[in-house]
């Protein structure tokens, strides 16, 4: 098993954290993991992304050109990364901010209105968690409970008040997938 995942969005949408959480979770589950952020001049704005590999084998290139999954949180990210998904791979689109449809036909596309759901939950900042929940549910790269275990590593211990809202968002994202899949069936 080797999952090569790209998370992408605006700076400030928490895409680096999404990747980190999966990386920690993968490590906790005894997998080989690697996380590579985009980095550039410090100036904010523009696109941020990270590459995450979770694998049973040693991790080769930390830079992903053939992704098993791609998560795009905004429109420019879709434009840039759609082509990175391998045939048969998965593409997660944050439809709250992306008005375009995916063009590829050879991949599985998940449309998640992450910001809208986050808004419903009362906090726009947790759109990334909604998306992450969906991603975990759809891919099963790691278990949801390991993801929950990983949260404090990324957000800092002692921020328990944040945890419950994050968890809630994760589960909402996951539910969405369940219902989608149910729908499909």
């Amino acid at each position: 098993m080797e999952e090569r995942i790209i998370f992408a969005g605006f700076g400030g949408q928490g895409v680096l954290s999404m990747g980190l959480i999966i990386t920690y979770a993968g490590m906790f589950e005894g997998k080989n993991v690697s996380w590579t952020p985009s980095y550039g001049p410090e100036m904010r704005g523009g696109t941020a992304f990270c590459n995450v590999t979770v694998s049973d084998e040693e991790v080769g290139s930390p830079v992903i050109t053939e992704a098993t999954s791609v998560i795009v949180m905004n429109r420019p990210s879709l434009d840039k990364y759609e082509s990175y998904v391998i045939s048969g791979g998965k593409l997660f689109i944050n439809t709250s901010l992306v008005d375009k449809k995916a063009e590829r036909k050879d991949i599985e596309v998940y449309e998640i209105p992450a910001n809208d759901i986050a808004n419903e939950l009362g906090n726009l900042k947790i759109a990334n968690m909604v998306m992450l929940g969906a991603f975990v549910e759809a891919t099963k790269v790691v278990k949801m409970e390991t993801v929950i275990k990983a949260l404090p590593e990324v957000f800092g211990k002692g921020k328990e008040h944040l945890m419950s809202i994050n968890e809630k968002a994760l589960y909402r994202g996951a539910e969405l997938i369940k219902s989608l899949i149910t729908t499909k069936k």
Binding site: G12, G45, N74, L97
Partner: protein, 70 residues
């Protein structure tokens, strides 16, 4: 009568213009997200007539978003 024009797609939502406007008529348009991903600054049409064309907003805007006409 004066008027301000925002080159919306350049706006980064920093609110320095909001802060600078003596008439307090500039606000962020929460209904929009521009290509850069920000809520852009705007003056509601109903408030535009309060603009005195002082150009304080434009002078504090770091991104040359604003043109002022009088």
């Amino acid at each position: 009568m004066a008027k301000v024009i925002f080159n919306e797609d350049l706006c980064k939502g920093c609110e320095l213009c909001v802060n600078a406007c003596p008439k307090k008529i500039i606000e962020m348009d929460l209904s929009k997200i521009n290509v850069k991903g920000y809520h852009p600054a705007t003056v509601k049409p109903e408030n535009m007539n309060k603009c005195i064309g002082c150009a304080f907003c434009a002078m504090m805007c770091p991104d040359t978003v604003i043109t002022v006409i009088k």
